[in-house]
C-alpha cells in the first residue's frame, strides 16, 4: 500500500468541501428516478414556459408543482437538471477512464521502446494536437452517430469516442516523458538483469511509478468532459438518444443551458443553474486535483 497522508487530507477544508460536492452530485445522479418530481422527457402541453414557483403576480404565475418552472415543451426543469447530473456522471465515469487507459498504454509503450517507434508515435500525437479539438469532436460525433444503431446511450457513446480520440494524446505525452526519466534508474536495470520480460517491467516497475500522474490527469480532465458536453449542446450538435418514441435529445446541463438562451426573460434560472452546477463540480475536481498534486510535490504546499 502506498503512502497517503490521511491526516492532512482529513484536516483540509478544501478536500471536505470538494468531496461533499461530488458526493451530493453523485447521490443526485444515483437516485435520480426517486427524487425527480416529474418525467424529464414528457412535458405537459398545457404548462409551457412556466417561471419558477416564487414568481407570482404575473399573467403566467409559477406553480409549486414545477418548482423551477418548465421549458417550452412543458417539461419540468428541476427533473431535467437532476437527470442531467446522470449524463454528466456517466460521461465522467466512462470517457475519462477510457481515455486514460489508451493514453497510459501508448505512453508507456512509446516511452519504454523508444527509438523509431517512439518518434513515429510522437509525430502522430503532434498531428492530433495540431487539429482544432472541438471541431474534431464534432466531426467524430457526426460520423459515429450515423454508424451506431440507435439505443438509449448511443449519443453518449459517440461523445465518449470523440473525447477519447482527441484527449489520449496529452496523457500519452505526459507519461512518455515520465517514463523516459524513470527508465534510466537502476531498479529498471536490476529488473532487466533478473530477466524480467518487457511486459513485466512495464506493468510492475514503470506503471506504479507513473500512477500519480494518471490519477491527477483523470481528476483534472473530468471537468473537461463535462464542459465538452455542455459545449456540444451549445453548438447545437446535441447528443441524441433513442427510446420507444424515436430519437430525442439526451437530458444534459449543456442542453438545458442551450434551450435556456431563448427563455432568458421568462426563466433566467435555466441559464444560471446549469452553469452553477458545471462550475461547482469542475471546481471541486480541480481543487481536489490541486490537493493531490500537493502531495506529490510536498514542498509547494498548495492545498
Amino acid at each position: 500500500m502506498t503512502f497517503f497522508p490521511w491526516k492532512r487530507a482529513l484536516r483540509s477544508p478544501t478536500v471536505w468541501i470538494s468531496l461533499a460536492v461530488m458526493l451530493t452530485f453523485g447521490l443526485i445522479a444515483g437516485l435520480a428516478p426517486l427524487i425527480a418530481p416529474h418525467d424529464p422527457y414528457t412535458g405537459s402541453i398545457t404548462q409551457p414556459r412556466l417561471p419558477p414557483m416564487w414568481v407570482q403576480g404575473v399573467s403566467h404565475p409559477g406553480i409549486p408543482d414545477y418548482p423551477l418552472g418548465t421549458d417550452r415543451y412543458g417539461r419540468d426543469i428541476l427533473s431535467r437538471l437532476i437527470f442531467g447530473t446522470r449524463t454528466a456522471f456517466f460521461l465522467a465515469l466512462t470517457a475519462v477512464p477510457l481515455t486514460a487507459l489508451i493514453g497510459t498504454f501508448i505512453g508507456l509503450i512509446a516511452g519504454y521502446i523508444g527509438g523509431r517507434f517512439d518518434a513515429w508515435i510522437m509525430m502522430f500525437t503532434d498531428m492530433i494536437q495540431s487539429l482544432p479539438g472541438i471541431m474534431f469532436v464534432v466531426i467524430i460525433v457526426l460520423i459515429f452517430r450515423s454508424l451506431l444503431t440507435p439505443t438509449w446511450f448511443h449519443g453518449l457513446v459517440t461523445l465518449v469516442v470523440g473525447f477519447a480520440a482527441i484527449n489520449w494524446v496529452n496523457l500519452a505525452r505526459l507519461i512518455r516523458i515520465n517514463v523516459l526519466q524513470i527508465k534510466h534508474n537502476s531498479f529498471i536495470e536490476a529488473a532487466t538483469a533478473m530477466g524480467a520480460s518487457p511486459w513485466r517491467i512495464i506493468t510492475h516497475h514503470l506503471l506504479p511509478n507513473v500512477l500519480h500522474v494518471i490519477m491527477i490527469w483523470i481528476i483534472n480532465n473530468i471537468p473537461a468532459v463535462i464542459l465538452l458536453e455542455a459545449l456540444l449542446g451549445y453548438i447545437g450538435v446535441g447528443l441524441t438518444s433513442a427510446g420507444d418514441g424515436g430519437e430525442f435529445t439526451v437530458v444534459s446541463w449543456g442542453g438545458i443551458f442551450f434551450s435556456g438562451r431563448s427563455a432568458i426573460n421568462s426563466n433566467p434560472l435555466m441559464l444560471i443553474i446549469p452553469s452553477l452546477c458545471i462550475l461547482l463540480i469542475s471546481m471541486s475536481f480541480i481543487l481536489l486535483g490541486d490537493f493531490l498534486n500537493g502531495i506529490t510535490h510536498p514542498d509547494q504546499g498548495t492545498e
Binding site: 503532434d126 479539438g133 460520423i143 455542455a230 443551458f257 481543487l287
Partner: protein
Amino acid sequence: MSQFLLRKFFHVTGILLGVTLITFLLMHAIPGNPWSNYSSSPRALLNLGIDKSLQQNLNHRFGFDLPLWRQFTRYIIGDFEDDGSFFCGAVCGNLGPSIQQQGRGVSDVLFSPPEGKTFRESRFGYSIRLVLFGSLIAVGVGIPLGVLSATKPKGTRNRISVGLAALISIPNFVLGLLAIIVLATGLHIIKVLPNWNLPGSWVVPAIVLAIMPLANIARVTQSTLLNITHEDYVRTARAKGLTQLRVMLVHVMRNAIVPIITYLGPTLMEMFTGLLIVENLFSFPGFGQEYWRAVLNLDYPLIMGLTLIYATGIVLVNVLIEMLSEILDPRIRANKIQGLQR
C-alpha cells in the same frame, strides 16, 4: 542552425501532411454530401433535393466522382482539367473553390478583405488580431498574477488558487453569454452587434477569450515559482543577503521562464479552440464562424483549408516556442549539441 531549420522544416511538412490526411478521411466519413446535407440550403430543408444530372455535373466540377485517393492528390498536388490543362493544388497555395459560397475560392473567403479595405479586415486578419489581443491579456496578466500569488503567504495564495480554479471552471460560452447579457442588455456598455472598427468593442471578446488561458498560465507560473523557491541555490542567494527583488528576478525568474514558456504552447492552442466559440458568440467576423458553417454544411475544401491554416498556426507557434526556450536556456542547447555528437 541551418541543419536545425532543415530538420524542423521536414517535421512541420510531415505534420501538416498528416493533418490534411486525417482531416480528409474524417471529413469524407461524415454521412451525407454537400448537396443533400440537412442544413446546407433551404432547398434541402424543403426536401426538394437537387436534380440527378445537375448533381452529377456538380460532382464532376468539384472532382467528387474521382476515387478518394485521387481526390486527396488532387487537393494536395493538383490535377488535370477536362481540357488537359494542369492546375496546381495546395502545395502552390491553391486551396480550391468553396462549395457553399458560390464562385469564391477558399483563400478568397479567408484572406481577401471586403472591397476597399486592407488585409487587416479579412476574416483571417480579424481572427489573428483577436488571438494576439487575447494572448497579450493572458500572458500580460497571467504571469504577474502567478508571480504575485507565489510571493504571498499561504493563506492569500490559497485564496488566489481557489479563484483561479473558479475561472478555469467557467465555460467560456457561459462567460461570454453572461457578458453579453449583463454588459450589453443590462448596462448598455457594449453593443450586441458592435462596430468592429472601434478598438473598444474588442475588449470584451478578448477578455472572454483570455480568461481560461490566463488562469492556466497563472497557475503554472505559481507552481513553477514555488518549486524553484525551494531549491538550494535560492536559499544560498537569500543567505548571501541579496534583496528579495534580486533573488526573484535573477535566480528564480531566470529558471522559471523556460517551463512557463513551454506551457504557453498548449495554452495558446486552447485559445485557438476558444476562438471558434467566442467568435460564434459575439458574431465576430473571423474565420471561426466560417469553420462551423463549413463543417455543418460539408463544404469540403473550406474545411480542409481552415484546418490547414489552423494547424500551420499551431505548428509554427510550437516551433517558435521550442526555439525560444533554446535561446533562453543554455542547458537545453548543451543537451542538443551533446545529442548531435553522440
